[in-house]
């Protein structure tokens, strides 16, 4: 165990702590780097855009993931394995390939423009690519499988007798879902939401390919500060902000999960 612990400590923990230290060490004084970051309206806009997009993507993943996971959990065994494999396969395909797919769909000669032209809704190809909508689509595409898998694990373990009992006592299917299934699925929803939100909040590849130059998010800003502007203090500051948001989300949602269901460790 010691070697693995040492590897993580030396290669992961210490470099990240050093990055954090770098933001406080600046000659200008403690915390100046953070004041500088929040002082710029552009940066505040990017932080807001990143948060907003991650929240929208999480909501979409819940809306798409919940019925799908519910469907998988209620399928017969053989079909269930097949459906899970079909959800895992996109996850094993690289982020570059999966973002690129949306370039093909949203591009000027892409599927969506073709459909819109054919239907007569538009007269000439419109710019769908390099927009916030494109980023949202790409990220929702990237992370919906994670939500499905988080939910399937939980939904599979729900005792079907509980639903049957609710039904036999006169609850409508909708009421059964809302009052029995959904509360029991909360732990899976929380885990899935944490994965999707933090993944979207820190994503780099998809915003670069589908957002273009104008729609900067935190990850692309970090890269630009570090590798184009060579302002490592600014880049470190963004890195620390990302870490703080991620840790805060993980801890808050973990606390929420424990509060709502004491059985969850």
């Amino acid at each position: 165990m010691a070697p693995a612990g040492l590897v993580i400590l030396v290669i992961l923990v210490l470099p990240i702590l050093d990055t954090a230290r770098g933001t406080l060490d600046a000659a200008a004084g403690h915390g100046q780097a953070y004041l500088d970051f929040f002082d710029r309206g552009l940066n505040r806009g990017i932080l807001w855009r990143t948060t907003k997009l991650a929240l929208i993507v999480t909501a979409i993943a819940v809306v798409l993931g919940l019925p799908t996971a519910f469907y998988i959990a209620r399928s017969p065994q053989a079909r269930r394995s097949m459906l899970i494999v079909a959800a895992v396969f996109p996850l094993l395909t690289g982020t570059v390939v999966r973002s690129f797919a949306w370039i093909v769909i949203l591009g000027r000669n892409g599927l969506l423009n073709d459909v819109l032209l054919w239907s007569g809704l538009i007269g000439e190809p419109i710019g769908l690519l390099y927009t916030e909508t494109a980023i949202v689509l790409g990220l929702a595409y990237l992370f919906t499988p994670l939500m499905i898998l988080s939910l399937v694990g939980v939904l599979e373990n729900i005792d079907h007798d509980l639903m049957d009992a609710a039904r036999s006592l006169g609850a409508t299917p909708a009421a059964t879902f809302r009052q029995v299934t959904l509360p029991l699925a909360v732990p899976g929803l929380i885990v899935g939401s944490v994965l999707v939100f933090t993944g979207s909040f820190t994503a780099y590849t998809t915003p670069v390919l589908l957002g273009g130059q104008r729609n900067t998010v935190l990850a692309t800003l970090l890269y630009r500060e570090a590798m184009v502007e060579f302002d490592w203090t600014a880049a470190s500051t963004i890195a620390v902000i990302m870490m703080i948001v991620t840790v805060a989300i993980v801890l808050t949602m973990g606390w929420l999960a424990r509060r709502m269901n004491p059985a969850v460790e």
């Binding site: 165990m1 019925p67 996109p90 690129f100 797919a101 769909i105 499988p145 890195a239 990302m242 991620t246």
Partner: protein
């Protein structure tokens, strides 16, 4: 008993989501054979020239080779430190503080782009380590949690008294690990290997900061190409990578299955 039937609306919703998940990959595959200089779907004409084009771009071949080496070496290293860690966690799990389990999944919790940048600052620049070793240790760390988790899961079904029996019959503890424990978790190790290998092969955010002149990885090279060219080459390359993913999964599954039959 109340019959459990799925409403047609639920089936329709699930079908729509699967169309959303798999449709784009089919579209990529179809656009790869388009006989046009630009990306088009539905494909216009039929041509395999974009597949030929992949092999004419030496940067793709060079970076694929680097990515392959990093993925294999990184996964092997991660398994070498991860299997003993998983073993210790399961064997002495009760006696250990609970944060220790969390410690090994830290690399999943840390945003990859933050890790990549920190690695650049601390290892690549401060220690002046060459590119390949830096990429290797970076990838080892990002795949380590998958190794520890998957191997731990397969150890959950292992009866530790089998190892104790071997030791009480005079087998040295270290040898009992290799002779008794490892063969029993072979399936888990293979599963961990595939997952870690594919994760490393696809990584962008960590490699992004560590590449340098003449040394890059395949996903980064693809990213650069997509940003500059709008032809179907990447679609063709994507098809090959998807085929590779399927083949790796199938081959290991088959080997695993055959292994069980031989035993």
């Amino acid at each position: 008993m109340v019959t459990r039937r799925r409403s047609p609306w639920l089936s329709l919703a699930a079908f729509a989501v699967y169309l959303f998940l798999l449709g784009p990959l089919v579209i990529v595959a179809a656009s790869a054979v388009s006989d046009t200089e630009y990306l088009a779907f539905p494909p216009e004409g039929f041509s395999l020239r974009w597949f030929e084009r992949i092999f004419e771009v030496s940067a793709f071949l060079d970076t694929f080779w680097i990515s392959l080496q990093i993925a294999v070496a990184g996964t092997v290293l991660a398994l070498a430190v991860g299997i003993p860690a998983a073993f210790a966690l399961k064997r002495h799990g009760v006696a250990l503080p609970s944060w220790m389990g969390t410690f090994f999944v830290l690399p999943i919790l840390v945003p990859e782009i933050v890790f990549g940048f920190s690695l650049l600052r601390s290892v690549s620049v401060s220690l002046d380590l060459p590119i390949i070793p830096t990429l290797l240790i970076g990838h080892t760390v990002i795949v380590l949690p998958y190794c520890v988790r998957v191997v731990s899961a397969s150890l959950a079904n292992f009866d530790f008294s089998a190892q104790e029996a071997a030791i009480s019959l005079g087998c040295p503890p270290v040898r009992s690990f290799f002779a008794v424990v490892l063969p029993n978790i072979r399936a888990g190790i293979l599963a961990a290997f595939i997952l870690a290998f594919i994760t490393s092969l696809n990584n962008v955010p960590v490699s992004l900061f560590l590449i340098g002149p003449g040394v890059s990885t395949l996903p980064i090279q693809m990213l650069i190409y997509v940003e500059n060219f709008f032809d179907p080459t990447i679609a063709a390359l994507s098809v090959l990578l998807m085929v590779l993913t399927v083949v790796v999964m199938a081959v290991v599954e088959k080997t695993l299955g055959l292994g069980y039959f031989v035993r």
